[in-house]
């Protein structure tokens, strides 16, 4: 550890002493668009080495002082902050510069959730991050339009401007169940997601009963949510019969919108029905 510390210290001191020979700043543009070609002039004579370093990219190039340094299109393509060093035989020139994102090229669009009940206020959220062709976040304000098109033809549209590359929106789910197309658009770049809007909890639950020999035939009315959407088949409906201190329970999945079952016809029995958090009517037999 001591050795590492000493050697690093020696390295740094050498670097610092080398730095004393630094000449005035290198003539360098303060801001460059990602992927753009550019050139800078150099002064003096002899050979030098150009370093461009930053977390986004590292370049090293041998250059001839007195000649132009040309960086080709696409050579520096990652947005970020960079230090440029021109290390010559007698001096080191330095410059700091920023590479900024180029034009919007793609959108990262996150729509949540992918499945939700109908008629939910602010139930759907959409977040967009705007990127250029080099996967740099575009930090200049960009207008993003969000559209949620429901099966019935109704469309909700909102527009938001990006702030530090991100734009977001919250939208209501539609009153009708079905598949909704959720899209985000920035200029001519479009990203689509699908959101499944499913019926909510049943609005009311009602059953009827009739005798069938020694049994009672129980059947619910078609189950619908408060917006009139049919509750999906497979939803469990629970019938409970209480008679003489005993309790019988039957769980039945909805089939074609209704649930049916048979229970023993016991005089004085009380039969109730429920699904999820919704309680239905109660029947006293007979």
């Amino acid at each position: 550890m001591k050795l590492r510390f000493s050697s690093m210290l020696a390295i740094w001191v050498a670097a610092a002493i080398a730095g004393f020979a630094q000449a005035p700043s290198l003539e360098w543009p303060k801001t460059i668009e990602a992927g753009r070609s550019f050139s800078v002039s150099t002064a003096g004579d002899g050979k030098a080495v150009l370093y461009i370093v930053g977390p986004g990219q590292a370049l090293r190039r041998d250059v001839q002082l007195g000649q132009k340094i040309v960086l080709a299109a696409g050579e520096i393509h990652n947005a970020g902050h960079y230090s440029a060093l021109l290390v010559g035989p007698s001096s080191t020139q330095t410059a700091d510069f920023d590479v900024t994102a180029s034009q919007t090229s793609n959108l990262s669009f996150l729509a949540k959730p992918s499945r939700l009940p109908v008629d939910l206020h602010d139930g759907i959220s959409g977040v967009v991050y705007v990127f250029d062709a080099f996967q740099n976040l575009v930090l200049t304000s960009t207008e993003v339009s969000f559209e949620l098109s429901e099966g019935g033809g109704a469309t909700q549209t909102r527009t938001a401007s990006t702030h530090y590359g991100a734009a977001w929106v919250r939208l209501d789910s539609a009153p009708k169940s079905g598949v909704a197309q959720f899209l985000a658009r920035a200029g001519n770049i479009v990203e689509r997601r699908v959101v499944q809007e499913v019926p909510g909890d049943p609005c009311s639950l009602r059953m009827s009963a009739r005798r069938s020999g020694t049994l009672i035939e129980l059947e619910t009315e078609p189950l619908r949510d408060c917006k009139g959407n049919a509750v999906p088949d497979g939803t469990i409906v629970t019938f409970t019969e209480r008679s003489n201190g005993t309790e019988s329970t039957v769980d039945v999945p909805l089939k074609r919108g209704v649930a049916r079952t048979n229970l023993p016809a016991s005089d004085g029995a009380t039969i109730s029905v429920a699904t999820g958090v919704v309680m239905g009517n109660e029947i006293r037999w007979p």
Partner: protein, 174 residues
């Protein structure tokens, strides 16, 4: 023997002393000064104190990983703290450094952090950091220069199984 003027000799001594002191400071890997601006609500979602603490802790840890990864030219060090685009870009830079025979030693000195956006579904959080760091450039282990940098970074972090990881790390010029 060439005579060195007295003032120049004195100046060189002073500079060397300064260099050593700065070197000790750089190599001591001292903790950076950190300031975090208060923000209860950043955009569409309420930001809990625990979330804010975790995000800042993991973001600062990511700078340590970045420093080690770049100093050792070892991209695998990034895995614990970076993901997605940030992981790919930093790895590419490290690969580039290896090919060129250069190394960079980043030492963060100061962070002034402001959380600016917490997405409605809680899957991304964005922060701005006015950061100061020193970067030492070595070419085939030969030191070339040290730069002191002050700039603003924008980071997007996303939650993973146990921690927040940096998905985007990009300077955002003020």
């Amino acid at each position: 023997m060439m005579k060195i003027p007295w003032a120049r000799r004195y100046g060189a001594l002073l500079l060397a002393t300064g260099a050593i002191l700065s070197g000790i400071r750089l190599l001591a890997d001292e903790e950076p000064a950190v300031r975090v601006a208060n923000a209860d609500s950043v955009g569409p979602r309420m930001l809990e104190v625990q979330t804010r603490t975790a995000v800042v802790r993991d973001y600062l840890a990511a700078w340590q990983s970045l420093s080690h990864a770049f100093n050792e030219n070892n991209a695998s060090v990034l895995d614990a703290d970076f993901t997605g685009i940030a992981r790919e870009k930093l790895s590419d830079t490290i690969e580039g450094q290896q090919k060129l025979g250069i190394r960079t030693h980043y030492q963060d000195r100061k962070h002034d952090i402001r959380l600016v956006f917490y997405s409605p579904e809680g899957l991304s959080i964005q922060l701005l950091d006015t950061v100061e760091y020193d970067v030492l450039i070595l070419d085939h282990d030969k030191p070339q220069a040290t730069q002191h940098v002050r700039t603003q970074y924008l980071a997007v972090l996303t939650p993973t199984e146990v921690r927040w990881k940096v998905r985007i790390l990009q300077s955002a010029p003020q």
